[in-house]
């Protein structure tokens, strides 16, 4: 309650979940510095489905990493649920990554030696859940993503789309408030990609989870609440879905 007072400027009735203030990320390579993010300030509200759209190399992944607490920005601040991520100690950061955020990557990033079930159970075990409970819950989530029949398969025995479903199930393991996805359809064919997008949207609606997805997949436009267009490390414009359909063809 006290903290809500800090949410100055928030639209009434909408609860802020992510806010970045002037986030800059520089990569130093030899004597050159590359500014991958040139001061990004965005606000995301609870339950939204956000797409970060932009061409390859525009800084989408860099922003994804900064929002997700996976990499430190060179300057600027990232707030998750009103908490400044930079102020967290190692234990708090691990808790945030474990409980508050679920990550989905382009390359799935499943642990290759673990079965689908073990992959989904792992974040729960890191969160301190008992093995048996974790396995039960993992099984239920895998059934939700229609992989109930492949729970004992290793990632190498699954198709790309199935692996990404396991990754989605794993991201939802600890009932996070935020799902961060970096090009979740980047390695998938058209139809598999569509199915994955549909699944993310369903989970977004049935669980009220905030989904933030970096992508250059225009299929994402239809289901996003808002789109952040990013180019050369800057947010070019922010559009609601109803504003975007007309110029969707402009991107490439």
């Amino acid at each position: 309650m006290v903290m809500a007072a800090k949410t100055a400027g928030a639209v009434a009735g909408r609860e802020e979940i992510v806010r970045t203030i002037d986030v800059v990320k520089e990569y130093r390579m030899g004597d050159q510095t590359l500014k991958a993010l040139k001061g990004v300030s965005v606000t995301i509200y609870r339950g939204e489905y956000i797409s970060i759209m932009g061409p390859s190399g525009s800084g989408k992944s860099t922003l994804f990493n900064a929002i997700g607490g996976l990499d430190k920005p060179s300057s600027g601040k990232v707030f998750i649920d009103e908490v400044d991520v930079a102020q967290l100690d190692a234990l708090e950061l691990a808790w945030l990554r474990c409980r508050k955020i679920g990550y989905i990557f382009q390359t799935f990033n499943l642990i290759p030696v673990m079965t689908a079930l073990e992959n989904v159970a792992l974040p729960m075990i890191f969160g301190g859940m008992l093995e048996a409970d974790a396995r039960d819950k993992a099984k239920a989530i895998l059934e939700r993503v229609e992989l109930g029949h492949r729970i004992d398969n290793k990632p190498s025995q699954l198709s790309g789309g199935q692996q990404q479903r396991v990754a989605i199930a794993r991201a939802f393991a600890n009932d996070p408030a935020i799902i961060l996805a970096d090009e979740p359809t980047g390695n998938l064919d058209l139809n598999t990609g569509k199915a994955i997008i549909a699944l993310l949207k369903e989970m977004n609606q049935e669980r009220g989870v905030t989904v933030i997805s970096a992508t250059h997949d225009l299929k994402m436009l239809d289901i996003s609440d808002r789109i952040f267009w990013i180019r050369d490390g800057e947010v070019e414009k922010i559009q609601r879905r109803d504003e975007v359909t007309i110029d969707a063809g402009e991107m490439h």
Partner: protein
């Protein structure tokens, strides 16, 4: 401020991640070695070979002069060539230590490096640096102890075999068993320590990286 659904999180508070008990780390480490059986065995063979070599050189260095002297005293040894050269033995022992160090370090380094991505992923899922380090230290200690014990057994068999081959079965009763346990114990310490240290260093480096950096490392 409206609470959304039944989500336990989203209260605007960050808690601290729980520290998993050591037994959990042991369990995961054992499982991880089992599912990676092929890789584990390859690493194990390297450790066995290196430790067998070290043990054999040490034991031969101890057995050789004693057996020679005894056999000389009994005048059995006319046909057995010049005496053992001391400086050559020191050199051999140093070499065998070096082989151990380089061979085991290399094997462990490779086996940890190919899992950097996995380390990054585990950090994304909420693993603590200390837990990742524990996993790798435990795995390497299991491998190190198992490999070193096998290596020592092989080394003892080889050393005795070589003595018998060189000086005939007359050497058998002359073998000075007294120092053998100490040499084996020292070898066990050295083998385990090298293995653990060689795994700890890269695992510690990877665990401390930002997760995204660990995931980006190409092997």
């Amino acid at each position: 401020m409206s609470k959304s659904g039944s989500n336990a999180v989203g209260s605007g508070q960050v808690q601290r991640q729980v520290q998993l008990p050591l037994s959990k780390a042991v369990e995961i480490a054992l499982k991880s070695m089992r599912v990676r059986m092929g890789r584990s065995i390859l690493t194990l063979i390297t450790i066995v070979m290196a430790m067998a070599f070290l043990t054999e050189v040490w034991l031969s260095n101890r057995f050789g002069p004693v057996i020679r002297t005894e056999l000389l005293a009994k005048a059995h040894l006319k046909a057995h060539g010049p005496p053992v050269d001391g400086s050559r033995l020191v050199w051999l022992i140093s070499l065998s230590l070096l082989v151990c160090l380089v061979g085991i370090s290399n094997a462990m380094l490779m086996s940890v490096m190919e899992r950097f991505r996995e380390i990054g992923t585990m950090k994304c899922l909420g693993a603590l640096d200390s837990f990742i380090l524990k996993l790798f230290v435990l795995e390497s200690i299991f491998l190190g102890v198992a490999g070193t014990i096998c290596g020592i057994v092989l080394g003892v068999v080889l050393a005795v075999g070589i003595m018998v081959a060189r000086y005939s079965t007359a050497a058998w009763p002359l073998i000075p068993w007294g120092g053998v346990p100490w040499i084996c114990l020292a070898a066990l310490g050295i083998g385990t320590a090298i293995t653990a240290a060689a795994a700890m260093y890269p695992a510690w480096k990877a665990a401390r990286m930002e997760p995204i950096a660990a995931m980006r490392v190409e092997v």
